[in-house]
């Protein structure tokens, strides 16, 4: 589904990713964990084409998207839930969802909207509420719902648990599991290593711009190095 081959990414002269190779297969949940500044978000942004990789290749469903503009990549069956949710706080829940289906027809929007409300009954209750007045968890649900509006085959989540209460995190992760059952491929970037690896089929550990470890989620959870570094021993 998504393949990164030896990707290097630069911010000006500084190299943030030193040859990263990652593969996400169709129907999988793949987690990427790493400490602050390891380059997790950079990796996601490289997939989205902002910044673009300076060398290496990014391949989405067999198509080389390394040098495609962001707007084009985001319209080709891939969706991102950006870090920090970034819902349109002045818009209502419904309008936020409509923005998510910006390039779809009205009939498609209506269909995906109903689908999102099925997935998040909470959003249906808040349909006409301004997004900015909702709790963090509800906003995260909205951000995920908005990303689903374009009916993506793959969804990228950047730290969906950021700043949320443990019980809400639990809910969000349950929903991510649900997405897989619907056949959506999930690429999850998390600091919350325990839950991310528990849920994932496979996991990657990113450290200062390099992939350190790569294994199944269960194996990584059991790995003593990972336990020491990311799971508090």
């Amino acid at each position: 589904m998504l393949v990164l081959e030896n990707v290097h990414t630069h911010y000006g002269k500084i190299e943030a990713l030193h040859g990263v190779s990652v593969e996400v297969k169709k129907g999988e949940i793949v987690s990427l964990i790493g400490a602050n500044g390891a380059g997790k978000t950079t990796l996601l942004m490289t997939v989205c084409g902002s910044p673009q990789a300076s060398s290496g290749r990014v391949i989405l469903e067999g198509r080389d998207i390394t040098n495609e503009p962001t707007s084009q990549i985001m319209r080709s069956g891939i969706s991102i839930v950006p870090e920090g949710r970034r819902v349109f706080s002045g818009l209502t829940v419904e309008e936020n969802l409509h923005m998510g289906g910006f390039f779809n027809t009205k009939a498609e929007i209506r269909k995906s909207q109903d689908h999102v409300y099925d997935l998040f009954p909470r959003l249906k209750e808040r349909e006409h509420q301004r997004a900015g007045t909702m709790s963090g968890g509800e906003q995260q649900m909205l951000a995920i719902g908005r990303a689903l509006m374009s009916k993506p085959r793959m969804i990228i989540l950047d730290e969906p648990s950021l700043g949320l209460a443990p019980i809400v995190i639990q809910q969000i992760f349950e929903i991510i599991g649900q997405l897989r059952e619907e056949g959506i491929t999930v690429f999850l970037v998390e600091q919350n290593a325990h839950q991310a690896l528990n849920l994932a089929d496979r996991g990657y550990v990113l450290e200062t711009g390099r992939i350190r470890l790569h294994d199944t989620g269960k194996n990584l959870l059991a790995n003593p190095d990972v336990r020491n570094a990311y799971l508090g021993g």
Binding site: C48, S50, P69, T70, S71, Q72, M74, R75, S79, I80, V81, P82, R86, V87, F88, S89, G90, L91, T92, E95, H98, M99, G100, F102, F103, K106, A107, I109, R110, Q113, R146, A147, S150
Partner: protein, 423 residues
């Protein structure tokens, strides 16, 4: 109680003296060829000190004075009403537009020539402000060089008529399109910029255009400007006493009425009115189209908008281009109204005034912007009797406005678009 205000009050009083004394107390008097500095009369000095004392006392007892104001029951009976429904609001807006357009239509026939002339100027500012509203209010791109596009429109008409004898009606679309092209071209370098940096670059662009017009004397006539810009014609009918161009006829002869200079003024006013209404409707349409929502999405959150697949380039360029297009419109009308243009009409202050209109009216709100355009253009005219204190009053009005209503006269309310139930 007032003790903690003492330091602040003293400071304010001293500032008052520092500012007021040189302005009011010192006069430059011409003595033959040289200029001498003359002290003020004792009366002025006493007044300045009285003012300082007044400021001191006010600041000292500020809390209790403002407290009294706070106890005054709210004078605005509308203050406590709840939000009105969207249908009602849209209806009210429509009624407002129809009423103001009707008033505008009868206006030239009931007031003096001067008032019609002023109203034409108001309409030009409405066009400019509606255009800038797209860039600043909707797309959230702070543009301090907007007057450049206005200048492009005006100079396009002036130069085309001077060198090629092109008439107003042909120059109108050319001027607007050329201004749009300039907006498009300016859009490219500023795509990556945001906030302050964007403001500086657009400011620079505005100055570049003005300085270019000032110095390219062979083409633009430099500071001397371009005169003799023809008036618009009505289906080949001219409004002058005598027909200037061959093949044309004059308006008053065709209709067999006595010649009056007022015809031309009224005609120009009506053209400006039609164009202003056109601007209003077109931009209103844009606001409800996907591109309008994309402008707002980009203003609200650039990263979120891009993550949804919107192209930053396309969205920003469209805002710049459409905004510039209407400035070009306004410029052409302005050139035709004045009959003479020079770079002096396109200084930074113009950009600032147009921006002030947009901010005062409430970013993104069309009704607000129209009201503010009327207020900002007419207030200085009404205050003409205060001559030198005109700008002072203008400035004070702006400051008060920002204190009491920072969101503008009528802040923008977005239109909710609902999906029709599939039947």
């Amino acid at each position: 109680m007032a003790a903690h205000n003492l330091k602040h009050a003293l400071f304010c009083a001293i500032i008052t003296i520092i500012i007021a004394y040189p302005i009011l107390g010192l006069n430059l008097v011409a003595q033959g060829t040289s200029v001498a500095l003359e002290g003020a009369t004792t009366a002025t000095v006493i007044n300045v000190f009285l003012a300082a004392v007044a400021v001191f006392l006010f600041q000292l007892f500020r809390d209790s004075i403002m407290g009294v104001f706070g106890k005054v029951p709210n004078l605005n009976p509308m203050a406590k009403r709840g939000p009105i429904s969207q249908e009602r609001r849209l209806l009210m807006e429509r009624v407002f537009f129809v009423a103001i357009i009707l008033l505008a239509l009868v206006w030239p026939f009931i007031v003096s020539r001067g008032a019609v002339d002023l109203a034409t100027l108001v309409l030009i500012y409405i066009m400019l402000a509606l255009g800038l509203n797209v860039v600043v209010g909707l797309a959230g791109l702070l543009d301090l060089g907007y007057v450049a596009f206005y200048a492009v429109g005006a100079y396009t008409f002036a130069l085309l008529s001077q060198y090629f004898g092109i008439s107003f009606w042909l120059a109108l679309p050319i001027g607007a399109l050329l201004a749009a092209l300039f907006g498009f071209v300016l859009g490219f370098p500023v795509l990556r910029l945001r906030g302050d940096y964007l403001a500086i670059v657009t400011l620079g662009f505005g100055e570049i255009i003005r300085i270019l017009l000032n110095n390219w004397t062979t083409l633009t006539g430099g500071p001397n400007g371009i005169g003799g810009i023809p008036d618009p014609t009505l289906f080949g009918m001219e409004f002058g006493r005598r027909v200037k161009e061959e093949g044309n006829v004059s308006f008053h002869e065709t209709f067999g009425i006595a010649y009056s200079g007022e015809h031309k003024v009224i005609f120009l006013y009506l053209i400006a009115l039609v164009l202003a209404v056109f601007t209003l409707l077109v931009i209103r349409r844009f606001m409800r189209m996907p591109v309008g929502r994309a402008w707002e999405a980009l203003r609200e959150d650039e990263i979120a908008a891009r993550s949804l697949g919107m192209s930053r380039t396309a969205v920003k360029l469209s805002a710049f281009t459409i905004g510039a297009f209407f400035a070009g419109f306004a410029g052409t009308v302005f050139a035709s109204k004045q009959g003479f243009i020079s770079p002096e009409s396109f200084v930074f202050l113009e950009s600032a005034i147009i921006l002030a209109i947009v901010v005062l009216g409430g970013m993104g709100s069309q009704v607000g912007v129209i009201l503010a355009a009327i207020a900002v253009t007419i207030l200085p005219e009404l205050a003409r009797e205060f001559s030198e204190y005109r700008m002072l009053i203008f400035g004070a009005a702006m400051v008060l406005m920002m204190v009491w209503r920072p969101q503008g006269l009528l802040p923008m309310r977005r239109i909710q678009i609902e999906l029709k139930e599939q039947g």
